[in-house]
Symmetry: C2
DNA sequence: ACCGACGGTTAGTCGTAGCTTTCGTTAGCC
DNA sequence: GGCTAACGAAAGCTACGACTAACCGTCGGT
């Protein structure tokens, strides 16, 4: 899937963001992640399910542990979304500035 | 301010995102925005206050109306955030792949 | 000077996301 | 075969965020 909006909403939660930021430095198990966070392992596990559902992370069974890692592609999608979003806003900003200049011109123009 | 995390959390709400996306195509007043949304003007107004607080939009008084417009710089900050975030995840992904290849090599890796 | 359009503010309601607790399951180890 | 560590699942609670409704201020028209 890797929907840009879904990923965006998922990344809004501070705990979930902390998890993904941690995983962006390398794969880790649930226990390791929970050790550095102010929540229980259960909460971390639940967050990981959500993250997995939107395609932000994927897991790999390693004995009794589960190693989670980020999916760069999902982040690339959000990156692209904000890229075009930003450019659109830039164009609108330039238009608005030009409009304002036409409405009440100053010495700055021409 | 234009904090990347604050902007990110603000943009997680669908209604707020719709507002900013609309403003990314050009400035608009509160009434115009509310007309295209399934919520009341009051809700739109409240959202605009939040958006203004994080620096995503700015307003300009025009008689009895208030014209809102996006601040491209705020979006640029989030864009940059995801840019580095994505690159970090890419590096971690490459490392993990190399590690996996070293652990159980196949014919794919020379 | 009145009146209507346009917005911001406040109080209050409702849904839901995030969290903990408890329990069930599976894999490694003695 | 028990025992423990590591997770996931289900249930329940709590707090917060989004929304509406009602009210007040303000600018512009006539």
């Amino acid at each position: 899937m890797t929907n840009a909006l879904a990923v965006l909403e998922t990344l809004a939660d501070p705990t979930r963001r902390a998890i993904v930021e941690r995983l962006a430095d390398g794969p880790a198990a649930v226990g390791e992640l929970a050790r550095d966070l102010p929540v229980t392992r259960s909460a971390v596990s639940q967050h990981l399910q959500v993250l997995k559902q939107v395609g932000l992370v994927f897991d790999r069974a390693a004995g009794t542990r589960r190693i989670y890692a980020v999916n760069p592609e999902a982040l690339a999608v959000v990156r692209a979304y904000f890229d075009t979003f930003w450019q659109r806003s830039l164009a609108a900003f330039a238009d608005a500035a030009a409009q304002a200049a036409a409405d009440h011109p100053t010495s700055e123009d021409t």
